[in-house]
């Protein structure tokens, strides 16, 4: 599914709000003004609200449902989206490992809360789960076990 849009350069607030929302949804930017997401009821509804917001901000937006003519290009796009979330998972794994090694117990517990929330956010935009998903869940679970261990 594609969101084709045009937004005026000024003011810049709606542009950056749109950029943040597309990023949160995990949309792939195909071209400037063209974003893609796998189609399901939720993503479609989210694109529709974004299209509405774009129109209200003085821009234009249309939603297209379609497929890539080339299977290779489709794999490439899916791989690109998978790699984007894989990088986020890797950062999270590194954070979890660093917290397990270095932090004092109180801070470690807060870091665990933050990483759990972060993991939920990434999972919500993980349409083509990479191997890193399992590892990230494992890393957070290990940090949790560490936090629960009696100190001393």
């Amino acid at each position: 599914m594609l969101l084709a849009y045009r937004l005026p350069r000024d003011p810049s607030t709606p542009r950056s709000a749109l950029w943040r929302k597309l990023r949160r949804l995990g949309a792939a930017q195909v071209l400037d003004g063209l974003a893609a997401l796998p189609l399901d009821a939720r993503t479609r509804e989210q694109f529709e609200w974004l299209a509405e917001e774009i129109a209200e901000a003085g821009g234009e937006a249309t939603i297209w449902v379609g497929e890539l003519a080339s299977a290779a290009h489709e794999r490439e796009l899916a791989a690109r989206m998978a790699e984007a979330v894989a990088a986020e998972y890797r950062a999270l794994i590194a954070d979890a490992a660093a917290a397990a090694r270095a932090e004092v117990p109180g801070r470690r517990r807060r870091t665990l809360g933050r990483l759990r929330r972060e993991l939920r956010r990434i999972r919500a935009r993980d349409y083509f789960p990479p191997a890193e998903r399992e590892r990230a869940q494992q890393a957070v679970a290990e940090l949790a076990a560490f936090v629960e261990e009696p100190v001393g």
Binding site: R24, E48, W49, E52, E53, R120, A124
Partner: protein, 153 residues
């Protein structure tokens, strides 16, 4: 009055329907359609693209209802934060309970049709209202064991 919205209701539409019945139109009748083109002429549409009572300026439809009907009740705005995050999860508000509400309603929508979903969601929102009301007024967590509280109607 007849109100119309999209089929397969989720949290925002369920919350709006509750708001309509409880605060705007106790006799409200709800109709569900697949496409905006099917909206009956005598019905008021909500939570659909291109209509007044829908998402605007980053607000979800529930927030739009509160603005358009000038419902200034702070308790309703507390609920609005939860509904907004359950619907959009854009972190405009800090509403950790939103994730739970989202899951509960998503699950319900898998086992019930739209009419039943709205009927089951209504007491849930009544309860949320009482809970938020207790928290708003006292500034503390509501008591856990006050029998009969919240059964005013």
């Amino acid at each position: 009055m007849r109100w119309v919205t999209r089929r397969h209701c989720h949290v925002d539409r369920a919350a709006c329907a509750w708001l309509i019945r409880r605060f705007l139109d106790p006799q409200a009748e709800f109709v569900f359609v697949d496409d905006p083109d099917e909206v009956p002429a005598d019905a008021m549409p909500f939570d659909m693209r291109g209509v007044e009572l829908s998402h605007h300026d980053g607000d979800c439809s529930f927030e739009t209802f509160l603005r358009r009907y000038e419902l200034a009740d702070p308790v309703l705005w507390e609920i609005a934060k939860t509904v907004h995050e359950a619907d959009l999860a854009d972190e405009r508000y800090d509403a950790p309970e939103a994730a739970g509400l989202d899951v509960l309603l998503r699950g319900l929508s898998m086992v019930r049709d739209d009419d039943e979903l709205l009927a089951l969601a209504a007491p849930l929102f009544d309860g949320l209202y009482e809970y938020a009301n207790a928290r708003c007024c006292s500034g503390a967590s509501p008591p856990h064991d006050v029998p009969g509280e919240g059964r005013k109607r």
